[in-house]
Symmetry: C2
Subunit: 228 residues, 2 copies
DNA sequence: TCATTCAGTAAACAGCCGTTCTCTCACTTT
DNA sequence: AAAGTGAGAGAACGGCTGTTTACTGAATGA
């Protein structure tokens, strides 16, 4: 029917996405610097040479994955910042949003946590740049409220960094609480999948409670900042 | 003179340490999951098969590196906790100690930051276990002061986790501010090494100032915790 | 309709990988 | 002094790696 923008480009982007998906899947159990080109193309079912039609090398694919992973995070952040409730509701909303996001995109979150300090420089820099943009967003949202209270721009940014780092930290903690099937088999000697689920969600609840308390600490510190 | 405990075992441990050192050096520019056995033995100047006399595989070497890296950190933590000064002095001491430690053992710190969420499960677990012991130590040190103020054990541990995570975060940030020679060449187009040093130490000072402010936020939050 | 473009194929390349042998020979124990 | 031990050497193995080459054939645009 309607030739969207060319059957050819559509097929190309489809393969490109398949490469990204395969890469992300393989990266759940290894680091980017050990991910092989042939490994990815094999999983997609495509010739190794086809890889070069889409990415220069693995670092290039990694940078593309960073944009994909952190693009979806931007949506989440904006939703949290949009809430104009009180402190306690904002804390609740933040932790819930992080938990939901980790559940929805575990591979993306794992990739970011893993490669943030990983062995591939261009990817590290891409993550740092994108997280920096997050800090800017959070800082801008805080500025409306805090500038009136006499906060300097640097202090607002400092606080925003603390929040963003804490969110990344919390997301990584949630990931370890929701382990993959093999780790579940290790943890519970029994073969009861329901027991594993219960153990995992209990760990998740504990992490959420810790994260909320930590955010409360930071929130209290923010309220009393001017007394210094 | 004195036969320590056998010339043979001494030589073996010497080679073992050489393997660990070579591994740590190579890990500055890649992740553990991509580090090759031959790569390490080649740098040491030893046959590939000799590796197996000391480690089962690369993950085994990684776990050994975790103990080496976090053993030296224990010393640092204890030194900070020993200080019985006021809040501001403790904050200053903490950030200074972290900065000094990153300068003294950059490769160790980089390894921990990189492999904490890296692709090798046994290493991840070893780091998590060791960091957990840190949290215990910090929590025990806080307990003396905070239990009297009516803090629960869980809340003390929550606060200790926040501190430890913030220290790891800060250490990782310092690392990025003190880049290796190649990155310095990228950053400053000139060939003036002094200019690069100045830029690096300026970035370091900025990170230290941010870390101090963040610790102040947390400290203020801790002081007003009971009001909830 | 015909020439062009280009995503993906298939094969071949040199090179590195982890692992397994057998061997040597300096140290250790008796 | 003799027997035993064990760290390391050296070579060989099959298998996997990234990259390049020449190619096919379907979607494209004139």
């Amino acid at each position: 029917m309607s030739h969207t923008v060319g059957v050819r480009q559509a097929q190309k982007q489809k393969t490109r996405q398949a490469l990204l998906d395969a890469g992300l899947r393989l990266l759940e159990e290894q680091s980017l610097s050990s991910l092989g080109l042939r490994e990815v193309t094999r999983l997609v079912g495509v010739a190794p040479a086809a890889f070069y039609r889409h990415f220069r090398d693995m670092a290039d694919l990694g940078v593309a994955l960073v944009e994909e992973a952190l693009g979806s995070l931007h949506v989440m952040i904006r939703a949290i910042l949009a809430e104009q409730n009180g402190d306690e509701e904002r804390i609740e909303g933040t932790v819930d949003a992080v938990a939901r996001h980790v559940r929805a995109y575990p591979a993306h979150v794992r990739f970011i946590a893993r490669e943030r300090h990983g062995g591939v420089r261009p990817v590290r820099e891409a993550i740092a740049a994108e997280l920096g943009r997050f800090v800017d967003e959070v800082a801008a949202a805080f500025a409306l409220q805090l500038e009136a209270d006499g906060w300097s721009a640097e202090d607002i940014r400092m606080l925003a960094e603390l929040y963003v780092d804490h969110m990344v930290m919390t997301a990584a903690a949630f990931l370890e609480a929701a382990p993959d099937r093999s780790a579940v088999a290790d943890a519970s000697a029994s073969e009861d999948p329901a027991a594993a689920d219960r153990a995992a969600s209990a760990a998740e609840a504990r992490i959420a409670a810790t994260a909320r308390s930590q955010l409360r600490i930071i929130s209290l510190g923010r309220q009393h900042w001017r007394d210094a």
